[in-house]
């Protein structure tokens, strides 16, 4: 068979990516120096890393447009319906201990005008969760997955996008201050599919999401947008990995964050791998961090690994700083006060991401949330 040979040839010579696996033993309890764990607050994440049973669930509030169906599958079935096997211990435990996966299906050729909306809320319980979104071929949809309240939540989310489908997958982490949320979101982009993901992380003591994507065939296009606002004592970590494993694919990543307050910590990892087979692809990754006060720490690591010279283009950029002085100067020269100018700059910075959500009431809600965050260090908006 050709496939195993190809797999062997394509065996990854990289320290960045552990081999995905459902077996918990393949993901030993981290010591802290491992490449994928060296930025993470292991003590705060202990419950998500410890193999202990829990039957608790989050409370679901869902709204499904006509045609969308849901069902529960067993843990064994879920291992076959997967974009990628778990990439870390948290998601491996989530898949193994969740007692099965909730599947949400968008039928082939459906043109959904309303979003598939799921809000998960917690009241402090410890939860293992596994969700599978199956997006039918040539369908068009928006998925909204919101997290609220308080929980210790380990999750595995698979998004299987059929050939030619268009999907906008929005995940919002708007937890209370004491929540701890870790897991793995994986996307499989079908042939010629157009996938956009928007990940917004605002609340929670710890949010640590691995977001991986790969392609099921040529021609797929992936856009990933992210926004995070990190307050004092918060740790927000997004670990992206785009695996260009098929030719003529395209990816674009744009994550933006702001940090304020003592001990605010953000981590952004943007790994891109361009395999030998992935000729004529293009990719660009961008991460921008605004550090608003002292006492914060922003880590930004855009890694790029390229195994073929036959590409259209590849690049990345990372900027970290306070404010764009030129923008500030421009606004102030038009008679806008410094405080107001700063606020406008931050709003503009995030508005570019928020408008990608594509659901007006959620966009408004998110702009409001950014506004509230800003009032912490810049005074209320009045």
């Amino acid at each position: 068979m050709a496939a195993p040979v190809m797999e062997a040839v394509e065996a990854l010579e990289s320290h960045l990516h552990p081999t995905p696996s459902f077996a918990i033993d393949d993901h030993p309890y981290p010591k802290g120096q491992e490449e994928i764990w060296r930025f993470s607050p292991l003590r705060a994440m202990r419950a998500l890393l410890t193999d202990a049973p829990s039957d608790a669930c989050l409370t679901w509030a869902e709204s499904y447009p006509e045609g969308v169906t849901t069902r529960v599958i067993s843990t064994a079935e879920a291992q076959l319906m997967v974009a990628e096997a778990p990439i870390d211990r948290v998601s491996a435990l989530a898949a193994a201990r969740s007692g099965g996966a909730q599947v949400i299906e968008v039928p082939a050729n459906a043109e959904l005008t309303e979003p598939v909306s799921i809000t998960l809320s917690g009241t402090g319980q410890h939860v293992w969760g596994h969700l599978v979104f199956s997006i039918g071929a040539h369908s068009s949809s928006t998925i909204l997955l919101r997290h609220e309240g308080s929980a210790s939540y380990a999750t595995k989310v698979d998004v299987l996008v059929g050939d030619g489908a268009r999907v906008n997958f929005v995940s919002i982490q708007d937890w209370d201050d004491d929540a701890v949320h870790g897991g793995h979101h994986s996307v499989l982009v079908g042939r010629d599919a157009q996938v956009r993901t928007v990940t917004v992380s605002l609340g929670g003591k710890v949010v640590r999401l691995a977001e991986t994507a790969k392609f099921a065939g040529p021609g797929g296009s992936l856009e990933q947008f992210g926004l995070y606002f990190v307050d004092a004592g918060q740790h927000i970590e997004h670990r992206l990995f785009v695996d260009h494993n098929a030719p003529h694919t395209h990816s674009n990543v744009d994550y933006r964050g702001a940090l304020q307050g003592e001990g605010a910590r953000s981590v952004w990892i943007g790994d891109v791998l361009i395999r030998k087979v992935a000729e004529n692809i293009s990719t660009y990754e961008s991460n921008k961090n605004l550090v608003l006060t002292d006492g914060c720490r922003a880590d930004s690591v855009p890694n790029l690994e390229i195994e073929t010279g036959e590409i259209e283009g590849a690049g990345h950029s990372s900027t970290t700083g306070r404010f764009d002085d030129e923008q500030l100067f421009y606004l102030r020269s038009r008679g806008i006060s410094e405080a107001e100018a700063r606020r406008l700059v931050v709003r503009g910075f995030f508005a570019d991401i928020i408008r990608r959500i594509g659901v007006p009431e959620v966009e408004e809600h998110m702009m409001g949330a950014v506004e509230r965050e800003l009032s912490v260090t810049m005074g209320s908006y009045a």
Binding site: G32, Q33, R38, R43
Partner: protein
């Protein structure tokens, strides 16, 4: 001031250190030296690895990972690559019991 029992002297012979969990955001290294007993946050300020994995040399503890030594009296690094101090804590001896107050680091300004 909350001094908590961290260890007893027989658990930490001179020239050694042990990690102790006193409930803070990180463990505390209790270090016994010829110059007395010291307590320092058990996390190197450079690569965030446990200092108790390194060697005790005179009145210093050396990070095993990249070799910076920290003065146990001040928490300051004596050479690169570490450049930032590590918090050190007040220690009180009662017989052979070692008490440490992690709420009031000695070398933090605020």
């Amino acid at each position: 001031m909350t001094f908590r029992l961290a260890a007893t002297l027989d658990e930490v012979p001179v020239g050694t250190s042990i990690p102790v969990d006193l409930g803070g955001d990180a463990e505390v290294a209790v270090v016994n030296t010829v110059d007395g007993v010291f307590a320092i946050r058990d996390v190197c300020s450079h690569a965030e690895v446990p200092l108790t994995d390194g060697e005790v040399e005179g009145c210093t503890i050396e990070c095993y990972m990249h070799g910076s030594r920290f003065d146990l009296r001040t928490g300051e690094p004596l050479e690169l690559p570490a450049t930032q101090p590590v918090p050190i804590y007040p220690v009180r001896l009662d017989g052979t019991d070692i008490y440490v107050d992690i709420d009031n680091p000695i070398n933090q300004e605020n």
